[in-house]
Each structure stands twice: as structure tokens, then as C-alpha cells.
């Protein structure tokens, strides 16, 4: 993928990696692959209320050759699967796939002859986003997690070697990149809280507890 990949492992590669990853994550352009209901929520996420333009993503390129991220939004039928693969093949590297909604992630409620049970049967997926349809805020969260993942991708074979060496040394982050929810990641105190919970293996519990604390006003089966 260019001369930057051939840099020898070392400080120079790390700095270039940081720069390249930062520029890749900051301006991810999506390919329009809106299929069904999730596509409408994706359009709503691009709309003014939940603005994807805040992250430079309001541009959805129709041509896959100019797009980085394919958000498979909606149910993929048997007839559509070859088209999906063709669009994916036409995208230029680096490329990522976000499967939006349960239908794209796993077939969803349509467990039958007509729907591919998860687009990971057809294309490799980097981020799964459940929901039927997921709210625009959930889509934004998934995109932010994906950006974090992109930000820490190793660059080229030497970069991957460095990553392997780091893993052998045990220098892996406690929370895998791309798994912390955005609302926790952007606040130092909550980030520490989450990291601690991951160490103990109870991050989901933490999330539920915090949510219940915030919704305390509804205790007692509150009516509207």
C-alpha cells in the first residue's frame, strides 16, 4: 500500500502509523449500501438532528471506489448477496465493513430461506451493530468504536510484527480497541471505571447499574 508500509519497525514507523491512522479515521467516507429500514435510520443519522458531519462522514459516496466504509444497513436477501460482494470487491483498501442492524449482523428476525443469516457469510465485518433498527445514536456509537479500532490498526507487515511483539510482551490494552462505548470513552473518570470493570469481567453489569441509577426516577413502574 505504498512506501510507508515498507518502513522498518521502529520509532519512525510508529509515528507514521499514528499519522496515517489518524487521517484514515478522521475522514471515513461511507458507501451507500442502504437496503431497508436501517437505511432510513442511517439517513436520519446523516440528517441535521444526529449529524454525522461532525465526524466528516456526512458524505456518502455512491461509487464504492471512493468509499472507505461500507455500512450494510438492512436485510441482505439471497438475490442481493452477490451484489454486496461485488461492491465490497470494488472498494479500494483500506476498507471496513459495519453491519448495521440485526438483519445484517445475523439474519435478525428473518430466520428463513430468503435472507442471508449475517453478512459475515459474504464479507468480512469489522463492527457489528445490533438493533431493529438501531437508533442513530447507536449507529454513531458504532462508528466511533470503529474509528477507535482504525486508529490502532498496525500499518503494513512491519507494523503487524511490532504488534505481535507487543502482544508477546504482554503490552496489550485491558480494553480491546473498539469495545468501549463512546459515552464512557470520552470521560476520564468513566473510562477508568470501565477499564476496572473489564479487569474484573463485569463491564455489562456496570453498564446496567449505571443505567438504572440514571433512570431512578422511573422506579416503581412509573407511568408517563
Amino acid at each position: 500500500m505504498g512506501i510507508e508500509e515498507k518502513l522498518p519497525a521502529g520509532v519512525l514507523l510508529t509515528s507514521v502509523e499514528k499519522l496515517v491512522n489518524w487521517s484514515r479515521k478522521s475522514s471515513v467516507w461511507g458507501a451507500t449500501f442502504g437496503l431497508a429500514c436501517c437505511a432510513i435510520e442511517m439517513m436520519a443519522a446523516g440528517g441535521p438532528h444526529y449529524d454525522l458531519g461532525r465526524w466528516g462522514m456526512e458524505v456518502f459516496r455512491a461509487s464504492p471506489r471512493q468509499a472507505d466504509l461500507m455500512i450494510v444497513a438492512g436485510r441482505v436477501s439471497q438475490k442481493m448477496a452477490p451484489v454486496l460482494r461485488q461492491i465490497y470487491d470494488q472498494m479500494a483498501e483500506p476498507r471496513w465493513v459495519l453491519s448495521m442492524g440485526v438483519c445484517a449482523s445475523s439474519g435478525g428476525m428473518f430466520n428463513n430461506y430468503a435472507i442471508v443469516q449475517g453478512v459475515d457469510h459474504v464479507v468480512p465485518v469489522d463492527m457489528y451493530l445490533p438493533g431493529c433498527p438501531p437508533r442513530p445514536e447507536m449507529l454513531i456509537d458504532a462508528i466511533l468504536k470503529l474509528r477507535e479500532k482504525i486508529n490502532h490498526e498496525p500499518l503494513g507487515p512491519n507494523g503487524r510484527k511490532m504488534l505481535e511483539q507487543r502482544k508477546e510482551r504482554g503490552d496489550v490494552p485491558v480494553v480491546p480497541y473498539g469495545s468501549m462505548p463512546s459515552s464512557y470513552r470520552n470521560d476520564k473518570a468513566r473510562r477508568a471505571e470501565w477499564t476496572q470493570a473489564v479487569r474484573e469481567g463485569r463491564e455489562e453489569q456496570l453498564r446496567i447499574e449505571n443505567w438504572m441509577k440514571e433512570e431512578r426516577h422511573l422506579q416503581g413502574g412509573g407511568r408517563w
Binding site: 439471497q78 438475490k79 445475523s106 439474519g107 430466520n111 428463513n112 430461506y113 430468503a114 443469516q117
Partner: protein
């Protein structure tokens, strides 16, 4: 006040299959061992008598093609409802007078269409709707009369679709034409029954061009072949798909799902409380 009651009282019904069933199948009181029926032995809880219309997860399909494709075996259903025998769909037609505007429609059609008695198999009036069961060969002519005659004027063909009544009789594919008259603000349904061996129905696209895609969909989903259709090809499924998905003996095709350690079977293999 209207309440829904099952067609037969479930408590007494449980005893009936023992008297009426002809084979030696056990009743629902005991656990069901696999039967010795030829063709795969899909275990059932009682032989369905006078039945009905292939409720998929409980009754085995009638044709050899479908046997063994699905069915919940040894279900943990202890409710006693397994022996419920449901009343058949269909049956006899209605007697005159039909009520409301139905008599008018029938009389007008009788006047305009010579030989109506040959073409119409039966007339059903149910839940405020008129259904004319038409012989397959005559459907295009009947439709033309329905559209053109002054007192009928059913200009709009709302819907063309089919229902698969598996297990009823040989002619299991019923094509339903819903016609609407904008002049008189009425609706009527024409129904045509064909069997799987010879599923040919004349196309009504010459009369109602809107039936074009709808007949294609009916062909795609049920395998009903419309003679005279300009381009009868698959429309919803991929072009090289085999089989007709909406038929009752075509499996749903789901996969079992593993979730948090448990495996949930596909929807057509789950236990059902019918």
C-alpha cells in the same frame, strides 16, 4: 359479546380422536413413540381426521415430497391440545339470497355472461365478502365480463395471489383475484383452484394489465403457470432458484441459533401450542 371459541371444546376433543382415528396411533395422553408409517415416520400425536390444512409444525405434509422435511417431534406439550381437530376450510357454498349487494352482482353477471352455471363452481358469502369460485379455464372470460359490463364495472383488479390448501383435495392451489368496482364502490373475490400436477390458469393480463407482476409473483411463490402471460419469469427469488417457496411443503429454511449457550431451533422446528 363475541368471544372466540375453538372449534371444538378441547377437553372433550381429546377423547374423540381415539374413536375416530383409523390407524393405531396413540392418543395424546401417552408419550408418542415414532410411528411405523412408511415414508419417514414423522411422529404425530394423533392422526388428523378430516384435516385440514397442513398446519406445518404439527401435521405431516400430504405429498411425498414434503414428508420428513419438518415437524416437531416428541414435543413437550402436555396441554392436551395436541389432539385438537380443526374444522376444514372450505366446504359448501352459500344459499341464495346472499344479502347486501351480492345478489345484484350475481344476477348482473348471470345476465351478462351466458353459461354462468358452467363457469361458477360455488358461491361463498362470508364475513361480508362475496367469493365466486370459478373454473380455471373460464377465468379470463369472466374477468372480461366483470370489467366491461355496465352493471358490474369492476375496473380495478386489486390483487392476484394464491393460497396453498395442502391436504384438502387434489386442487390445492387456489388463485384469488380481488376485484374492485370504482363506479359502484364494491369488492368481489374470484377464486380459481388448480392442482400441482397441472397448475395452468389462463392469464388475465389482457383484461387487467396490472396482473402482470402479480401473476409473476404467484408463479414464483406457488408455481401456478399462467398461460398467455407475456413474460412469466421469477420476480422475487433469484432467476435460478428451484422450488416455490410459499407452498406449504416448502420448508421455511431457517437455521438454529446459538445464544448465550442455548440453541434455539429454527422457527418451523420449535414447539408449538396449536
Amino acid at each position: 359479546m363475541v368471544t372466540t371459541t375453538p372449534d371444538k371444546d378441547p377437553v372433550t376433543d381429546a377423547k374423540e380422536p381415539a374413536q375416530r382415528s383409523e390407524s393405531a396411533n396413540p392418543t395424546n395422553q401417552q408419550a408418542t413413540p415414532p410411528s411405523n408409517k412408511p415414508g419417514g415416520g414423522v411422529p404425530v400425536q394423533a392422526t388428523p381426521v378430516g384435516a385440514t390444512t397442513g398446519a406445518p409444525a404439527e401435521l405431516p405434509p400430504s405429498s411425498v415430497a414434503g414428508r420428513g422435511m419438518f415437524g416437531s417431534s416428541g414435543s413437550g406439550d402436555t396441554s392436551g391440545f395436541g389432539g385438537l381437530v380443526r374444522r376444514r376450510v372450505g366446504g359448501g357454498g352459500s344459499e341464495r339470497p346472499y344479502g347486501s349487494y351480492f345478489d345484484e352482482v350475481y344476477d348482473a353477471l348471470d345476465e351478462a355472461f351466458p353459461g354462468l352455471d358452467d363457469a361458477i363452481e360455488k358461491v361463498v358469502v362470508d364475513r361480508g365478502e362475496l367469493t365466486l369460485h370459478v373454473k380455471p379455464e373460464r377465468i379470463a372470460e369472466v374477468c372480461r365480463t366483470m370489467r366491461d359490463d355496465e352493471s358490474l364495472r369492476f375496473e380495478l383488479c386489486s390483487s392476484v395471489s394464491a393460497v396453498d390448501y395442502l391436504g384438502a383435495d387434489e386442487r390445492r392451489l387456489h388463485v384469488a383475484y380481488h376485484l374492485a368496482s370504482m363506479t359502484y364502490r364494491r369488492r368481489v373475490r374470484l377464486e380459481v383452484a388448480v392442482g400441482v400436477e397441472h397448475p395452468h390458469v389462463p392469464s388475465v393480463t389482457q383484461v387487467y394489465p396490472t396482473a402482470d407482476w402479480q401473476e409473476r409473483e404467484t408463479y414464483d411463490m406457488f408455481g401456478v403457470i399462467f398461460d398467455g402471460h407475456p413474460a412469466l419469469t421469477r420476480i422475487l427469488m433469484p432467476d435460478d432458484w428451484e422450488g416455490h417457496p410459499q407452498r406449504k411443503d416448502y420448508p421455511l429454511g431457517g437455521v438454529p441459533v446459538e445464544y448465550k449457550g442455548a440453541e434455539i431451533p429454527a422457527p418451523d422446528r420449535r414447539r408449538s401450542y396449536q
